[in-house]
Subunit: 101 residues, 2 copies
């Protein structure tokens, strides 16, 4: 299991439309091989900046199966009109278990 | 509920000691007002970079109660020996619910 963290800066005053587009895009990610789920977060310090966290079974499910497949253009068509620039993406793997207090 | 995302670059060859220190530090965060839990993640692209995700009830639980309280130096004593530089921190709030497929 890995987490894709995409940092996305959106155009001012497009926040609710962008958020609705991400919700709509869940129909795309549902079809993606190895995609376990996602959640959109928004920066408190800079409200034009979002972090989309997407959980995949493997790195290749994102970088190969999704990015090189037919679903990627569907995703980008929904959300790229709101982008100021292409998202920056990092991939994380768990280094500890999740601690809940 | 907010997520603190601390990006931490550690010195090479200190990974297992750093990870053990974070696990030990859960005893500190357990005592912190409003701290719901945490998980340490590691960058796949650059294994010297970690992201520590800490969930707090409110922003002020982190920025005021924790950072200005007696627990902060205990946390830093455990982990700062491994830091290349001070962590960069952003705070996120949920912009959508969590979608699970």
């Amino acid at each position: 299991m890995i987490i894709e963290v995409a940092t996305i800066t959106v155009k001012p005053d497009t926040h609710s439309d962008f958020e609705a587009a991400v919700v709509k895009a869940t129909d795309v990610f549902k079809q993606a091989k190895g995609c376990q789920g996602l959640q959109l977060h928004r920066s408190i310090e800079d409200p034009d900046i979002y972090q989309l966290h997407i959980v995949w079974d493997t790195l290749e499910n994102h970088t190969v199966d999704f990015r090189e497949g037919a679903l990627f253009p569907q995703w980008r068509e929904l959300v790229s009109p709101f982008f100021v620039s292409p998202p920056s993406v990092v991939h994380l793997s768990a280094a500890t278990k999740r601690f809940s207090f």
